[in-house]
């Protein structure tokens, strides 16, 4: 292991910090923009002013969130060049133009129409405004698509050959549709929707609990519940599929996630560890609580299916174990907790417990929805830890090592920028919380007249 202060470790820490911070914001931009599309469509269709007020209220939160997403996103694109120059040269042929596509197809669309969405209420007709909101939503989801294509390709780099330290594309479509891509894209896009569903639902629950604008927020709460009924089970299924893809294409990563050291002999099933203490020097777990046959069953759909253990891979090709193992378990627990919360809520609704006069008494349910807001973000972040730490020691799976991919420069330069990020980002976070709290405390404006030429009114 390198020393703590060398340029590679510092660049890795900087990337980890900036990426984990950045991803907090686009997830809500993606999901909330779709929510805004739904609300604006409902307004145009029904002419009910309540939906219009929902658009105005949530778009204020959207804009503050979007702002932090943008300013923390630009450093992501440039960091590949500044801190990962050898990777940029090796992977640029594919990776670079995916980022280029993202900017040209998605981000530009989003940035331009956002201006109309935010400042254009009185300048354009409701239809053009609705179109702008749709373009913002389309742009943000397309952006997620291209970024996840690029990221998936780092996990399963297909569609070309690696010669003289450079990846040369021979088949563009095979690179774009790499084996991990369908899972990477869908798992992350669903995560965006799921988090946004719980943010909208959780904030609505908070207002209902406080007895403020109960009828108003019951509307958004119920929309969130309906979305959760679709999204939470779907995400578990996609997560399972994603795990199978890891089993097929990144066996060392799967073994690390499961702290699975020894390949199960034919006829015997691999157990699933609920909790364990992996020990890399001993190449075994110090202790573990296991469910027999479960790992084979989950990954191969057969109780005795073979699952390769970590010992089959040379020590220098093994990813860290402790971090992916626990991060994965936290993510999975969150996924199921959100699923059970959905079941509980759906049952309550079925029994009439979500009626305006009864929902106030469902304090525990509402509190659970509020708690689900940070929980859903924790699920996403631990998912990313599982995914990216599990990819180590490779930056480009089985082709280029992370340690060979960092720019060679004085540690003091990277240390300086890392320190600046470490000061700036918590400050940004605190400012966001401050402004978000103000917007939430103020609540939706009571009497906002819709634009003069409003349709349906």
């Amino acid at each position: 292991m390198e020393s703590l202060v060398d340029h590679v470790t510092l660049s890795r820490l900087q990337f980890a910090l900036t990426a984990h911070f950045h991803i907090l914001w686009p997830v809500l931009s993606i999901g909330l923009s779709l929510f805004l599309v739904v609300m604006e469509a409902l307004w145009l269709k029904t002419g009910n002013i309540v939906y219009y007020r929902h658009c105005r209220f949530w778009s204020r939160l959207f804009l503050v969130n979007f702002t932090v997403g943008v300013v923390s996103g630009i450093p992501m694109e440039f960091q590949f060049g500044t801190n990962w120059a050898p990777f940029s040269v090796a992977g640029g042929d594919f990776f670079g133009h995916m980022l280029g596509f993202e900017a040209a197809m998605a981000f530009m669309l989003e940035a331009t129409f956002l201006g109309i969405m935010a400042f254009g209420w009185n300048r354009v007709s409701p239809r053009v405004h609705f179109f702008s909101t749709c373009m913002v939503a389309l742009g943000s989801s397309l952006s997620a698509f291209w970024i996840m294509v690029a990221n998936s390709w780092m996990h399963t780099p297909t569609g070309g050959v690696f010669i003289d330290g450079r990846f040369v594309i021979t088949d563009k479509l095979a690179a774009i549709f790499n084996p991990d891509m369908p899972w990477g894209v869908s798992h992350m896009w669903l995560a965006c929707i799921e988090i946004s569903v719980f943010v909208v639902g959780g904030l609505s629950a908070w207002y209902i609990l406080k007895g403020r604008h109960v009828d108003f927020f019951l509307k958004s709460f119920k929309i969130a519940v309906i979305a959760a009924i679709v999204v939470t089970p779907l995400q578990i299924l996609v997560g399972d599929g994603s795990g199978t893809a890891v089993y097929e294409h990144q066996p060392a990563k799967l073994a690390a996630i499961e702290a699975h050291w020894e390949t199960n002999p034919p006829g015997e099933g691999a157990p699933w560890k609920i909790i364990a203490w992996p020990n890399k020097t001993r190449q075994d777990n110090d202790w573990a609580i296991e469910i027999p046959y479960a790992l084979s069953l989950i990954t191969t759909k057969s109780p005795t299916g073979p699952v390769r253990g970590l010992r089959e891979f040379p020590a220098e090709d093994q990813p860290p174990v402790l971090l992916p193992f626990y991060a994965f378990r936290i993510m999975m627990a969150v996924g199921f907790l959100l699923f059970f919360l959905m079941l509980w809520t759906a049952w309550t609704w079925y029994r009439g417990g979500l009626d305006a006069d009864r929902i106030m008494d469902r304090k525990r349910l509402l509190l659970a929805w509020i708690a689900a807001v940070p929980l859903s973000y924790i699920g996403m972040e631990t998912g990313w830890i599982t995914r990216e730490v599990g990819r180590q020691p490779w930056i480009l799976y089985n082709m280029l090592r992370t340690t060979d991919a960092a720019t060679n420069m004085p540690a003091s330069a990277v240390g300086g920028s890392l320190l600046t990020f470490a000061v700036l980002y918590p400050l940004l976070f605190a400012l966001f919380v401050y402004f978000a709290k103000r917007i939430i405390a103020a609540g939706p404006a009571e009497a906002v007249p819709p634009p003069p030429e409003a349709a349906g009114a």
């Binding site: 778009s59 590949f80 120059a85 133009h97 280029g100 596509f101 331009t112 109309i116």
Partner: protein, 345 residues
């Protein structure tokens, strides 16, 4: 494809040049307005200045993201070499962009308007200075050995790059004041006429000095000024830039409102093209080892071709919708500005 293939890197150089130019002009006036806002009389003036670009600064800035992504894809070696060797100015630019980027949204939600106006002003100043040093560092030449930067992390800091930074500062202030002439009236507009004149003259003097220094540093660039047929192109663009400059002075004198900004764009376009012709085919000038040409830093022909097809569809589309938006938000900014139409939901 066979006929075009050998020229793909050149076509891409042209496209990247267009992105850079669009960014420098569009975000240039935004950054210029930001720097000028630091010298505003009061918060009301700062407010008008910020509102003049409020609805469009973000997509203008996005051309930088587009430039970064396309540069990464089309010229991966150039992208990695330039960004890694100019680490400090590039990171400084990113930090500046953070302060500038948050200022608009936070200001509209805050009671402390002044704090966020200053965040906008100083953020813009930091971004401009960082871009100046990055450009100055690149034009000073980057020592490259075996495809890796072999110079110092402070190599971009030298008297020449300070001069280039002064030029970029002057150029953005010039653009910003010409934009304010178009978008405001009364006090701010009158002052902008004076600032535009002053910054134009400073920028002219600095640019001429920078060009002379480049000719002195790079024999190959000097050759372009003297040897036909390249010298015809170089001199033609210098002449065009000169004409645009004279027209700018005339339009300022006549107190025109739209013409100064367009003359300013002309100056930048012609001097940028002239400078590019003088530098071609070198993308990274280098006084020590051999410089890197357009062709040596480009991605594989397949990638360039694929990207070209996609971009040829996207650029007209982007120009259409950004053009529509600029039309939508045309007109003067006043105290009531866009603020009154903003509403609060």
């Amino acid at each position: 494809m066979g006929l075009i293939e050998p020229y793909l890197p050149d076509i891409w150089l042209f496209i990247i040049g267009f992105f850079l130019l669009y960014y420098a002009v569009a975000d240039g006036y935004g950054l210029g307005v930001g720097i000028l806002s630091l010298f505003a009389r009061d918060e009301e003036e700062r407010s008008i200045m910020m509102e003049s670009i409020e609805s469009t600064w973000h997509d203008n800035q996005t051309w930088l993201v587009l430039l970064g992504g396309m540069l990464f894809g089309a010229f991966p070696l150039f992208y990695s070499l330039v960004l890694s060797s100019l680490y400090i100015p590039i990171l400084l630019m990113l930090f500046g962009l953070i302060f500038r980027g948050i200022s608009f949204e936070f200001r509209s939600n805050s009671d402390e308007k002044r704090t966020w106006s200053l965040s906008f002003g100083f953020g813009s100043l930091i971004v401009t200075i960082a871009q100046g040093f990055a450009l100055g560092g690149l034009l000073s030449g980057l020592p490259v050995k075996d495809g890796v930067f072999a110079g110092s992390v402070w190599g971009w800091l030298n008297p020449f790059s300070v001069l280039v930074t002064a030029g970029v500062l002057g150029g953005y202030v010039m653009l910003g004041s010409n934009y304010l002439i178009l978008k405001t009236h009364d006090e701010i507009q009158q002052r902008s006429y004076r600032i535009s004149l002053l910054s134009s003259i400073i920028t002219l003097v600095v640019s001429v000095t920078v060009h002379l220094r480049i000719v002195a540093m790079y024999p190959h660039a000097a050759g372009k000024w003297t040897h036909p047929p390249d010298c015809y192109a170089v001199w033609a663009f210098v002449l065009l830039a000169g004409i645009a400059f004279v027209l700018l002075l005339v339009s300022l004198e006549q107190r025109r409102e739209i013409a100064p900004l367009f003359c300013n764009m002309g100056i930048i376009l012609f001097s940028f093209v002239g400078m590019s012709v003088a530098m071609y085919p070198y993308m990274i000038p280098n006084v020590i080892a051999s410089p890197l040409t357009v062709h040596s830093v480009a991605a594989s022909p397949d990638t360039l071709w694929f990207m070209l097809v996609v971009v040829m569809v996207l650029i007209p589309l982007i120009l259409t919708y950004t053009g529509y938006k600029h039309r939508l938000f045309r007109g003067k900014t006043t105290e009531s500005g866009y603020e009154s139409e903003r509403g609060h939901g």
